[in-house]
Symmetry: C2
């Protein structure tokens, strides 16, 4: 048995005997304990802080004496004077093992630390960034053994950091020689690992020890908005988040109108590429200003987007995505440099774009898959990213299926007579009084219900401007619950519904939500045409999900995750009353927020997650709804509210829907046939 002192590291539990005088950092490295260091044990970076524990540790079978580590030394004192060391902490490279000792490595001293996520069901993010800092001491040039400065730097990285086959970006040659001399042959380099050359690449160099931080960006490039998180690549922390409208909106609100723009206008695609890259650069300026950092410290960026945005961002004409067979130029992930995409961050910054799943199921859906990990789920999970196109994943650890379904913009408030985007003044929550059949509501920007006496005063600034996506879902569902709307989607007459909130409006009836006309305000109604739009949108969403269930061979799912900013605001009960989503226990319907953005952040912070999602996407089975005959059948059934054939038994335990039918066989019912017919032709 060794008489050398025993060192036990927590939380890893790794242990070993080391000769007296061994620095703790050295012991950690030899045991493979995850203890950070940028300066390589020179007492400069302080990344290797550890906390020794003293006393009896029966669990480890160790008694730690007060002199188990060497005394606090001058390097530690200097560091403490200058920057302050937390009480009980030591520098792992300075403190030497003198007796048996238990040493805790705090999270911030671990390279592969976990980044905390709030949701219980969410996967952990373990830090494993693509780009890291290394401090090295380089040999000076020697005329007797001539060699390039770069070659000596590469040798130092090999000897001091065991990095094999290091290469350098061209711009490093422009900055390296002054940096080496200014730093007196000591420099800090940022090294990018794991691109497709399988060679570590020097992508920046600072003279001496660089005390600052390097950053990465996770960008969710949506058709409407571009949202970015700026992350500290060492801690994983989000240091700033920012978003802008996608400047391509001026070429078309939705994706297909942008594809048309590129077809109708020579250089249209090029214009749109320039617009989105310019917008991206404006966003980078904004987020860097918010974080008060230099943009050139952003050395890594991950992008997720739908296929059309993917192509336009890359400068590929999206023409082929506008027509069957919807052929992507490429579905693989991409590794590029910032300069190739005209992005004004570090010129050598690495760009990673997640793989696309299919012509309509993009890198954003791949990012959702990375964040929500259906492929790791024990139970069967349906993940729905609700947007202009709904992207739908269904699966568990055995198999994952994916499709997209053209919901259209109704869920975003478009094509709805009183619809609007989610913004202050928009109705977002609705309750209809069972007796009076009058709706009360909440608007964005105010916590009060509209029947509160303070409501008018508190909404004075914004007014009541319209109904946003989540509002229209609750509105239609409440109308169905309270017998104002029948299953096939007809609004009843005042006589049929017993309320004069319903009123004749051309050939059909409408429902009065809010009449602000006395004060010169808007009149907000729900028309039967609005109901048709919502029916088509929700039928598309449901039938996509149902088709995947068919393909999976199941009739129900264990849980449902609603992703997307919009998904975060949907009431599960109302969504289920509408028949947007399959029948499921309400507590099993959760919101993942911006799962695509989270997926981008995971890929940014953990390089291995990139390989993982590439494999996952490869294994996902893609279903093209356009060529599946059953999609059409599901769509027709799902046009009913909640559904013409599916029973929704779990929903039935929560709410009883009145069995009403307002179709009297006369011309008043004609609206449905017309709307449904239009839709069916469009799908056919």
């Amino acid at each position: 048995m060794s008489t050398d002192p025993l060192v036990v590291f927590t939380p890893s539990g790794k242990r070993g005997h080391f000769p007296k005088g061994t620095p703790v950092l050295t012991a950690a490295r030899q045991l493979g304990v995850d203890l950070d260091s940028v300066c390589g044990g020179r007492g400069i970076c302080s990344k290797c802080q550890i906390t020794p524990s003293y006393g009896e540790f029966s669990k480890h079978g160790v008694t730690v004496a007060n002199d188990a580590l060497s005394e606090w030394n001058s390097v530690e004192q200097r560091y403490d004077d200058k920057r302050g060391l937390k009480k009980g902490r030591r520098l792992g490279c300075q403190a030497q093992v003198m007796g048996d000792v238990v040493i805790d490595v705090p999270a911030e001293s671990q390279v592969h630390k976990q980044v905390v996520r709030k949701r219980a069901e969410a996967r952990d993010i373990v830090m494993n960034p693509s780009t890291r800092l290394y401090y090295v001491e380089v040999e000076e040039p020697d005329m007797h053994e001539p060699s390039g400065d770069l070659e000596r730097l590469v040798r130092a990285l090999k000897e001091q950091w065991q990095l094999e086959g290091v290469r350098a970006d061209l711009h490093i040659l422009h900055m390296m020689q002054p940096a080496l001399r200014k730093g007196d042959w000591k420099v800090t380099v940022a090294i990018h690992h794991g691109d497709d050359t399988h060679a570590p690449k020097i992508m920046h160099i600072w003279p001496g020890y660089y005390e600052g931080t390097i950053y990465g960006l996770a960008v969710d490039l949506g058709s409407t908005t571009i949202a970015a998180h700026l992350c500290d690549l060492a801690s994983g922390e989000v240091v700033a988040s920012s978003g802008i409208m996608n400047p391509q909106i001026r070429f078309g609100e939705d994706l297909m109108s942008r594809v048309s723009y590129s077809m109708m206008n020579k250089d249209g695609a090029t214009e749109m590429t320039r617009a989105v890259r310019d917008g991206m650069n404006a966003l980078f300026v904004q987020i860097a200003a918010e974080a008060e950092i230099d943009r050139t410290l952003i050395v890594d960026a991950v992008f997720v987007c739908n296929p059309v945005m993917h192509h336009l961002f890359l400068g590929v004409d999206p023409f082929e995505l506008g027509q069957a067979p919807f052929a992507l130029a490429t579905s693989s992930s991409l590794q590029l440099r910032a300069v190739e995409l005209d992005l004004e961050i570090h010129p050598g910054a690495r760009i990673y774009i997640l793989p696309c799943i299919a012509g309509h199921v993009g890198a954003d859906a791949a990012a959702v898959a990375l964040s929500e990990a259906p492929d790791k789920s024990e139970d069967l999970v349906l993940v729905v990213d609700v947007g202009t196109n709904a992207e739908i994943l269904l699966g568990n650890k055995d198999k994952v299926l994916a499709c997209s379904s053209p919901t259209g913009p109704a869920f975003e408030g478009a094509q709805i007579s009183s619809g609007q985007r989610a913004a202050p003044g928009a109705i977002e929550r609705v309750e209809i009084n069972p007796e009076t059949k009058v709706a009360r509501f909440k608007v964005i920007g105010c916590d009060l219900w509209s029947d509160d006496e303070e409501f008018e005063a508190q909404t004075g600034a914004t007014g009541i401007t319209g109904i946003c996506g989540s509002g229209i879902i609750e509105m239609v569902a409440e109308m169905r619950i309270h017998g104002i709307l029948d299953g096939p989607g007809l609004i009843g007459s005042p006589e049929q519904t017993g309320t004069d909130r319903c009123f004749r409006d051309g050939r059909t009836y409408s429902y009065m939500v809010w009449d602000g006309s006395a004060d010169g305000g808007p009149v907000i109604t729900v028309t039967n045409r609005d109901i048709r739009e919502i029916q088509m949108a929700k039928a598309a969403l449901y039938s996509g999900a149902r088709l995947l269930m068919d393909k999976f061979g199941v009739d129900k799912v264990d849980r449902i995750v609603l992703a997307g900013a919009f998904g975060a605001h949907i009431s599960p009960k109302h969504a289920m009353v509408l028949g947007m989503i399959p029948d499921a226990p309400l507590e099993k319907v959760t919101s993942a927020g911006n799962a695509a953005g989270t997926g981008a952040r995971i890929a940014l912070l953990n390089t291995e997650a990139r390989t993982e999602i590439e494999q996952t996407v490869h294994n996902i089975h893609k279903i093209e709804t356009a060529i599946e005959p059953r999609f059409q059948e599901h769509f027709v059934n799902a046009s009913n509210i909640p559904n013409a054939v599916e029973p929704f038994p779990i929903l039935g335990t929560v709410v009883t829907l009145p069995d009403v039918n307002f179709n009297t066989g006369g011309r008043d019912g004609g609206g449905e046939g017309e709307g449904g017919g239009r839709r069916r032709r469009r799908r056919g």
Copy 2:
């Protein structure tokens, strides 16, 4: 024993039995016979042409019947009608083996064909270009199995060409989808092999079968001139050669003055980088015009240059190369893209820059080593690339040493009173009449000696304008041979030399070469100061070579190769009389022409040569003359003509040098002390 027909391929001698009906191309591939094909056997490209032989072949033990191959088919007929097939040729993909047969693969049907070089001692160039064309048929997109167009193209390359892990440049995504559709899912791609990602990269795509050629450039970037060869990457042929003056000359004639310019002027290095890249682009326009090709068909380019040009071309400030310890930014080879160096050829064209040997021994010397291959030589070879700096290699297959020596520009006619660059009208050959001591000469642009009666008429257009580098060497050597100049370097008086061509010229004597003053022409003389300049230049060159011989432990070399455009014009006898080069049999002193340019061409045409020269350079032992005490000693000895201490016995069998000494001890001899002293201080 197989009853299948026997197929014997020549010149490889590979043989095997194949079932009747096997296409010759298939048989060749299975035997690993080098038979080209771009279309993969579809009868489109005609690259697989072969010549069957009929009759008795006792050497191969085969009798070939007239029906040994299938009959001439309609594909061959169509090709013959359209483009003409040489008599006796067949298309290897169409002709099928029907009986025992002997098949010759002509050189132009081999991928790895040899490119002929004129010199017997020169190594062969075997074609193995980095970029090749492949014709493929790609599967159409299928909605049931959605995949990107690129992924299907990559799969086709794997299935049809066994290319693994193919990737694509970003710009391929911009051009691929229209090309695939225009070519009806058949395309030709240019694939670059063997960059540092170890992945074949698609770098261009054409719809259908591309009948054209792709090109590469071998560029010798010199301080004074930039010379380029444009090569067909399939045949290896040089299709055009062109050169321009290096536009950096306006910042300084020689390298050190350019380094000074960058030190003295903010952005000086940047200006010079822009100048050389602009010049390069002008050269590319010129050479493409000469060859009548589109510049974007240039997909590969290899550059060789000295270290200062290397750094300026890359955009690296050459500051460090201007002072000890002469640290290169990098000595390794570089793989870049045209766009990174602002080069206007194919935007994705690959750039390869050979490794540098040391701070004063550049990629041009590496290219000389690749062309002259001292490391493969059985006998001990001294390779001297004569320019402003002489780069010197000494070695054999056991060991190679390298150094550079600052000869200065005297060998280029600079700093010589009547000196000039090699151009029409410049004296390039000299003979002094032993009796009259009068010089006759030839000028560039005229084949007659100056004592020919037609000479004046034939040189009327150019006149006699000065003496170029090779002329001055012959002149000084002839003066030494004929007793006009003594060993220490003094020109004798008319009394001492017996000719009034020698005349008092200030404190020393000069020699009259040509007096054109009667006709208003120039007076061309050689002054004692000119002799001093040549002494210093040749002493630098010789002492570099001698130092390498010391390090190698030898007193003589087996052969000497003079490289460089200037080296091609030097008379070995005169160079040896001067003591520029070590004593050796005159027939063992040969000229390699522009060996650096040839080395660039080898690296362009054969990718494996790149790996090879990287390894060779790594193994070359570098000697820095500035820190070698013996260099100084050799220099002083070599200031004498031919040498103060070395005997030159082989030279003695060819020419007897008069034992004269014109130093009378008076002030007239002071010139030497002055010149030598100045030089010694400069080296110290």
